[in-house]
């Protein structure tokens, strides 16, 4: 803390007023660590925090923004050594290691407060481990197929409703000399998205979660059926070649240049695609089609979260910050198209008037009866996810190696879930 006249005066004022203001006047330091290092989210968060500062002028807020990927490894160090008061992370199984090690604060008390309990009910499950809540969400986004509407129009195709149509559409796209789907699997997780959808559409949400929890073997025949469906697409030549060389960003030009007709991705792909020149007439969205009839549709909708480390110094201020963060107004503001461009977690917040956000919101709130999954690498334990995603990538390049891959994953499964 820098000692300026202002802070001295404020400290003085604070100490003299201390007796009088027993209400929620927050003082002290509030250290916030963020992984929102991309330009738009970064600006959004900084604005939101400075608004919070405006409400609590006596609070000395220190914000540290860490590169999103570096954050994933650094969090282990700072949670154990020099903990901030508030830190971002991800929902579901990605919290488990820190919850088990006692590094996240139990915030079940916040979830008992009526405003949060009602408004955030839909995401409670993703924040719960051992019947306790370990943080609050601040944003989520839908996954689905983003496609080139102009190419579909040119070929006279419409959005597919089932797997047969999906394949026949794809065949038409291939016949026109393009690829159906672009994907970059260099960093593996993109393949996890495909597996999530194929598995949830083939056997449903509950089966997918059983696999995530290790109750089903990877060599199970039902898992093989999922891979068989995937293989149909691979054998058709539906995916761009050499996808193992590209990151997801590097896979986007195929879509932009019209060499591929669609991509299975989260809503975060919209911003770079728009920037690359695909306006709303050219880019459209549809829900991943049904594969097995009668299976309730379930979606991937990864949720990003805020947590209070167990070793935080100013937990009172941290809790107030979380309350502020999830309140309806703030949720409306930070998730709008100019800021994060994602969906608000508070049911009383309003969704920004954006084509893709509206479609995604409707899909998740009305057409996802099966359930909402987080994402492959958030639902499966980290180690299992890592090995499995390598297997998925290998399968996409060499589908014939499937037996070998599944046997290997069974072995990993035995060790991880023991």
């Amino acid at each position: 803390m820098r000692f300026t006249t202002k802070t001295m005066l404020m400290a003085l004022a604070g100490s003299t007023l201390l007796a009088g203001t027993a209400t929620a006047e927050l003082t002290g330091d509030l250290k916030i660590f963020l992984d929102t290092s991309n330009p738009a989210p970064r600006a959004t968060m900084e604005q939101m925090i400075s608004d919070f500062q405006g409400l609590h002028p006596d609070l000395n807020i220190e914000t540290t923004i860490i590169d999103r990927d570096a954050y994933k490894t650094q969090i282990r160090n700072f949670l154990t050594a020099d903990a901030p008061d508030v830190a971002t992370w991800y929902a579901a199984n990605r919290m488990t290691p820190f919850v088990e090690a006692g590094l996240f604060e139990d915030v079940s008390d916040l979830w008992e407060e009526p405003e949060i309990a009602e408004a955030l009910a839909s995401t409670k499950g993703a924040m719960t481990i051992d019947d306790k809540q370990w943080g609050v969400p601040y944003t989520y986004y839908q996954w689905g197929i983003y496609y080139r509407k102009d190419i579909y129009d040119e070929l006279g195709l419409s959005e597919p409703a089932n797997f047969e149509e999906m394949k026949s559409n794809c065949q038409a796209v291939i016949d026109s000399g393009r690829k159906c789907y672009t994907i970059g699997t260099k960093f593996l997780w993109t393949a996890g998205g495909w597996f999530d959808y194929l598995n949830m559409r083939t056997h449903g949400f509950d089966f997918h979660m059983d696999l995530a929890q290790g109750n089903v073997k990877w060599t199970d025949d039902r898992v093989r059926e999922t891979f068989a469906n995937w293989r149909e697409l691979i054998d058709m030549g539906a995916f761009v070649e050499n996808h193992q060389n590209y990151s997801w960003q590097e896979s986007l030009p195929f879509l932009v240049n019209g060499e591929a007709a669609s991509i299975l991705k989260g809503n975060f792909a919209v911003a770079p695609l728009r920037e690359a020149g695909l306006d709303d007439d050219k880019l459209d969205f549809y829900q991943f089609p049904t594969i097995t009839d009668g299976i309730a549709l379930a979606e991937d909708a990864p949720t990003d979260t805020f947590h209070i480390p167990a070793k935080a110094q100013n937990k009172e201020a941290a809790r107030e910050f979380l309350r502020y963060l999830v309140s309806a107004n703030v949720q409306t503001e930070i998730n709008n198209g100019e800021n994060l461009g994602q969906l608000p977690v508070n049911s009383k917040a309003s969704v920004d008037d954006d084509k893709f956000l509206n479609e995604g919101f409707t899909m998740l709130s009305e057409n996802s009866p099966g359930g909402v999954a987080q994402f492959f690498d958030r639902d499966f334990p980290a180690e299992m996810a890592n090995e499995a995603m390598q297997g998925l990538q290998e399968f996409m390049v060499f589908p014939d190696n499937l037996d070998d891959i599944l046997n290997r994953l069974d072995k990993v499964q035995e060790r991880v879930y023991q």
């Binding site: 490894t73 154990t80 960093f187 060389n245 180690e383 290997r408």
Partner: protein, 308 residues
């Protein structure tokens, strides 16, 4: 008159402990900082790694002692096997930098106008960061737009996806690594060539040595010190290969380009890595491999010293 002045004797015994032991102690005092750092930053971590390798530990919670379980699992781990083989490939093919460097050094060891510029151009890749080298080569190898495939296309050969092909990818990365490493060896040999004794060359020439025989029997023996250093830095470079792999393929496709150091990082410290014990076990294996070379280097340096 022969009586010793009692004051002098007293002064002698009164001289401080340090003064009395100055010759024995001073070298240790000078060595102390180095020894301290070596113990803290090298010996102690080695001990810690070995200790951690007997535990099952996620880096956060309680460590559980599992004895040799981590090592037993390594024996059965196909990814470990792949990494070990890749390390071997690196060790073997990286050594190509030595003859390569020698060849370029011989080629550049002449006096023409502008030779300094040529020399610095050849040395240039060594100055680049490994990350830049990795990026440049991954663009070079790009399956559609890359220069390599354009050149191959001119000769009517089909496009190959070097970094996407599990059998080729490791060689592709080693080739990228050879670019700066060859430059390094070249510099070592260029300085070595400066020290070659012209009288011996003269004598050889009088005896009718030319071309290869001159090189093999007269020049190369005199370059022995340079060769030794080139060998040491190349072996170390091969075992340290990490940045190129991380930049060019991130260990992929499906883990086929990992080496031990990368695999250790992935298991213990990466985004999904929560197995400190297992990572430490991999590190210990890597250490044992290095130990073979370290022993050899120390032994050859020691016998050199004694031979003098």
């Amino acid at each position: 008159m022969t009586a010793i002045d009692p004051t002098i004797a007293a002064a002698k015994s009164q001289r401080g402990w340090y003064k009395r032991n100055e010759i024995a102690v001073t070298p240790w005092l000078f060595l102390a900082p180095a020894i301290l750092f070596f113990v803290f930053y090298v010996v102690w971590p080695i001990y810690q790694s070995i200790a951690i390798s007997f535990y099952d530990w996620d880096g956060l919670g309680e460590a559980r002692f599992v004895g040799m379980d981590n090592y037993a699992e390594l024996m059965d781990d196909s990814a470990f096997e792949v990494s070990l083989w890749n390390n071997l490939k690196w060790l073997l093919f990286y050594l190509l930098a030595i003859p390569g460097g020698l060849f370029i050094a011989l080629f550049l060891n002449q006096t023409v106008t502008g030779i300094r510029i040529y020399k610095s151009l050849f040395f240039f890749p060594f100055v680049l960061s490994q990350v830049v080298v990795g990026l440049v080569f991954s663009w070079f190898y790009l399956p559609n737009e890359g220069l390599l495939n354009t050149v191959l296309g001119v000769f009517g050969m089909g496009p190959i996806n070097v970094l996407g092909d599990p059998t080729l990818a490791t060689y592709g990365i080693i080739a990228a690594g050879l670019w700066p490493q060859t430059a390094y060896c070249m510099i070592l040999y260029l300085t070595g060539l400066n020290a070659v004794d012209p009288e011996q060359i003269e004598a050889g020439r009088l005896d009718g040595a030319k071309g290869w025989r001159m090189l093999w029997f007269i020049i190369i023996p005199q370059l022995k010190p340079a060769t030794f250093i080139a060998f040491v830095v190349t072996i170390i470079g091969a075992l340290r290969s990490f940045d190129l792999i991380s930049v060019m393929t991130n260990g992929g496709p499906f883990g086929q380009t990992r080496v031990l150091s990368f695999y250790m990082f992935e298991k213990a410290l990466s985004e999904y890595g929560f197995r400190m014990g297992y990572g430490a076990a991999i590190a210990v294996v890597l250490f044992l491999i290095m130990l073979v070379f370290i022993a050899y280097f120390l032994w050859s340096m020691w016998s050199e010293e004694r031979g003098r």
